[in-house]
Amino acid sequence: MSWTAVARKDFQDARLSRSLWLLTGLFVLFAAGMAWVYTEIEALGAGDPQITALGLYDFLASSATLFVSIAALVLAYKAVAGERDSGSVKLLLGLPHSRLDVVLGKVVGRTATLAVSIVLGFVVALGVIVTLYDAYSLVDYALFVGVTLLFALVYVSLMVGISASVSTSGKAAALAFGTFVVVELLWGAVATAAVYVANGFALPATMAQYPTWYFGIVSLSPSAAYQSALATVLDGASTTGEVIGGTAEAVYLEPWFGFVWLTLWLLVPLAVGAFRFSRADL
């Protein structure tokens, strides 16, 4: 169980990173700013206060997905490959840690580091909410932060998995950034392309003719899965998952299935990375 020592060391090390503090500062401003901006928008068309608060989570969640995914990338893409590059991995593995301990310790240490930033940002945002809103639920807010922390764990795990599967920081950077672009920015296009190919290199005429699995693909990206998961715990929140899956019937379009996708994103890339790292010559 020596991953705990690795995680502690990694937390001590990573939390001193300047880029992390820069990102955290931005996120604190962003989260608080989003909470404030939302009150301005809400003032334009005031509605049921309960709905209002839930709408705020969607608003916060969309900024959180961007922050968490970018921060996880910056924080974790060099976690393993960077140590192989510099040679500090020889200090790390000269001590009685297994390579799996190193990978797991990195995931836990870097997630803890990112969690500090996330909690900091949401505590400040909570201050704004308490000041500006009449109706809010602390339980819902805690659930929201909890699911966001799970999303952070998933993203860090994905990035550490990528980092562990290659030998240099350069390759890790390319693969991590490429994954981010595909999964966060181009995912809709990927799903559309899959339909295009499956449909005999033509797109169906209307959205209603799209196959059910198209919505499955759309909802499996980490951030879509995160929003589905949020919808499950924050009863009644409108989410991407529910909206796109609204017409189709499939178990993988249920909002709770977001947790399944998150679990797969948590485990599969990490398992591949850990396996490749365990067989590598350093």
Binding site: Q12, D13, S17, L93, G94, L95, P96, L282
Partner: protein
């Protein structure tokens, strides 16, 4: 039980053969110097012993355990000063040593270890600001955590000034007195000569010699060069007498000065022979064949 046993280990990286059927044994409690020019395969050997890289064929044991099967158990009892490492720039010296102690599940005092390597005053500074020598001392302190049974030191004197190198020697000796085995690689031969019980010379992935330094010196042609100055030019018979002394390999004369290549232990016999032939020895000096010469001889012959 042998501390390290390497049995026909071969390691190929793509098309390059780094180690070619290397076999050797290091006994418990000895100080073994692993010599060879850069690129000879020293670090690869050490990397295999610690499971940083896997052999293409062959096997090895460290403290009776196979590092490929039980890498953590091996490293639990080994202290390592690797080559080409990098410290964590943002962590302090004390945090580094504490990490090593925590990793080994020990209860050493990090300050005591830092004092042993003489950088206690820099304990709370970030290691990124350390000089090369201080970094080397820091990593040595990490290696000493948990009283390892085997110390593996890859080029330990890199970056150390002469005083630091002396301290390194003192620490190695203290560790051996405690009962540890020390395996270290170097190309700084004087260091090896001063502390090692035995040395192995590696050249192009093959072990070309393993023995005590004295034996290696005896095994090579010239053990010592003896220069003798006589009061008068040497007579024919004196030269013949000196050449007849067992252990003398060659003798040249330049007036009253004789230059004699011989084994290390026969210089008094040579001086006696010259004096009994009627000469007066005004002055003499000896020059030991340096390990450097030995080393060159071994590695060049095989190159």
């Amino acid at each position: 039980m042998a501390a390290i046993e390497i049995d026909r280990v071969t390691k190929r990286f793509d098309e390059v053969t780094a180690l070619d059927e290397l076999s050797m044994t290091i006994e418990e409690g000895e100080v073994f110097g692993f010599l060879g020019p850069n690129g000879a395969g020293k670090s690869t050997t050490i990397d295999i012993l610690l499971d940083f890289v896997r052999p293409t064929s062959g096997s090895c044991t460290v403290l009776g355990m196979n590092p490929q099967r039980q890498p953590e158990a091996v490293r639990q009892r080994v202290g390592i000063l690797p080559d080409g490492y990098h410290v964590y720039d943002r962590l302090t010296g004390r945090q580094h040593v504490q990490f090593a102690i925590d990793s080994k599940g020990g209860d050493d005092d990090p300050m005591a270890l830092l004092e042993r390597v003489d950088i206690a005053d820099a304990a709370d500074r970030k290691a990124g600001g350390y000089s090369k020598g201080m970094t080397q001392r820091l990593v040595l302190a990490m290696a000493l955590a948990g009283e390892p049974d085997l110390l593996v030191l890859d080029e330990p004197t890199t970056g150390l000034d002469p005083a630091g190198a002396r301290e390194m020697r003192r620490i190695i000796e203290a560790e051996v007195d405690r009962g540890a085995t020390v395996f270290f690689s170097s190309h700084i031969l004087e260091q090896v000569e001063a502390v090692c019980d035995r040395v192995g010379i590696l050249s192009e992935g093959e072990l070309v010699a393993v023995d005590t330094i004295d034996n290696l010196r005896d095994a090579t042609a010239a053990g010592e060069t003896l220069t003798v100055t006589l009061s008068t030019p040497a007579s024919e018979s004196a030269i013949a007498d000196a050449e007849a002394v067992t252990g003398v390999q060659s003798l040249t004369t330049d007036g009253a000065t004789l230059t004699i290549s011989c084994d290390g232990n026969v210089k008094m016999d040579v001086l006696d022979a010259l004096e009994s032939a009627g000469h007066e020895v005004v002055d003499f000096s000896t020059e030991e064949t340096s390990l450097e010469d030995l080393f060159m001889q071994y590695t060049e012959v095989n190159a």
